[in-house]
């Protein structure tokens, strides 16, 4: 392949549309011809925006960037409602959900019994003795 044919094939070579044979011919030529290699590299740099930006190096202006940043910040700023919503939306494994539900039910069912065991109510006859003792004391009072 001579240089004129290579120049015409550079687009297909860059976008990988050439046949295997043609690609091989181009690569063989590029290795041997520095002029065509420089042309290809310039072509590639001009076309390929991956990591190099638009051909003119354009990016959105600073005002546009700040406007977008402000919109994103306002939209996703953590608020109590959003944090709570995310917590409820977090998927939980079934076994964990069942365990938590069981714990809640047990708390409602056994809670009063446990509370009574910790702080038992005084026996009813103890109150009667206090009342009896009070009556006896009053009866002995000399007015």
């Amino acid at each position: 392949m001579d240089c004129t044919l290579i120049q015409g094939a550079l687009i297909g070579y860059h976008f990988a549309t050439l046949s295997d044979d043609d690609r091989g011919d181009v690569e063989t030529h590029l290795v041997a011809c520095t002029a065509c290699l420089r042309t290809y590299l310039a072509f590639k740099a001009h076309v390929d925006r991956d990591g190099s930006g638009a051909p003119s190096g354009e990016v959105p202006g600073e005002t546009a960037r700040l406007r977008l940043r402000g919109a994103v910040e306002a939209r996703f700023r953590p608020t109590p409602a959003r944090v709570l919503g995310r917590w409820f939306a977090t998927p939980v494994p079934l076994y964990q959900g069942v365990a938590v539900a069981a714990a809640v039910v047990l708390a409602f069912v056994l809670g009063p019994a446990v509370a009574r065991a910790i702080h038992p109510a005084p026996p009813a006859h103890a109150l009667e003795r206090v009342d009896s003792a009070r009556s006896a004391a009053e009866s002995l009072t000399i007015y």
Binding site: C3, T4, Q7, G8, A9, I11, G12, F15, T17, R38, T39, A42, F43, H46, V47, D48, R49, D50, G51, S52, G53, A54, P55, G57, E58, V59, P60, G61, A64, R65, R67, L68, R69, A71, V72, E73, R75, F76, R77, P78, R86
Partner: protein
């Protein structure tokens, strides 16, 4: 390096440093994809803003059906098409350039790299929309699979369009590369 998807998740939790990193990663690539397809810089900035915000807000974005980049470019492409439909297909700034006339120069001048690249820009600007899309998506670094997802077309159809695009550009550039 944090993946796009990890940064996306952090932005949705309000981490603005993650947004800054994501923005820096895509500012030039996405803008480079948008600018040639829209008539003015302001249009490109607006679509850039809408696309990135819509990608972050969308409840449809799930990464088992495509990467963050795929989603971003798909949404950006749809925004471009919407804007083109509402404003008329119109012409990009480059397409307003008159087609370059073949200079009556000798073979050495025709091969001058600067003329070749300028001719390429003009040829790209004159590509029909379906071919222009594949050119700009490929130039933005997307793989064939990602491009097919963004465009919503089978891989075979995409490869066919790539071949068409290359053939059109090759024909347009023939005066600058012919013997």
């Amino acid at each position: 390096m944090n993946s796009d998807e990890a940064l996306y998740a952090r932005v949705k939790r309000g981490d603005m440093r993650a947004f800054d990193e994501l923005y820096a990663r895509y500012a030039s690539r996405l803008f480079g994809f948008l600018r040639p397809q829209l008539p003015t810089r302001a249009d490109a900035e607006d679509v850039f803003h809408e696309s990135l915000l819509a990608t972050l807000e969308s409840v449809e974005v799930t990464f088992h059906r495509g990467s963050f980049r795929t989603w971003l470019y798909r949404i950006a492409r749809n925004r471009v098409l919407n804007r083109q439909r509402s404003h008329g297909r119109g012409q990009t700034a480059l397409a307003r350039l008159a087609p370059l006339e073949e200079t009556p120069a000798g073979p050495d001048e025709r091969l001058a790299r600067g003329e070749l690249l300028r001719a390429l820009d003009g040829a790209v600007a004159r590509l029909p929309s379906p071919l222009s899309e594949v050119y700009h998506l490929r130039s933005s670094g997307l793989s064939y699979d990602e491009m097919a997802l963004v465009l919503g077309i089978p891989l075979g159809t995409l490869k066919s369009r790539m071949n068409q695009m290359v053939n059109v550009l090759r024909q347009e550039l023939e005066p600058w590369t012919a013997r």
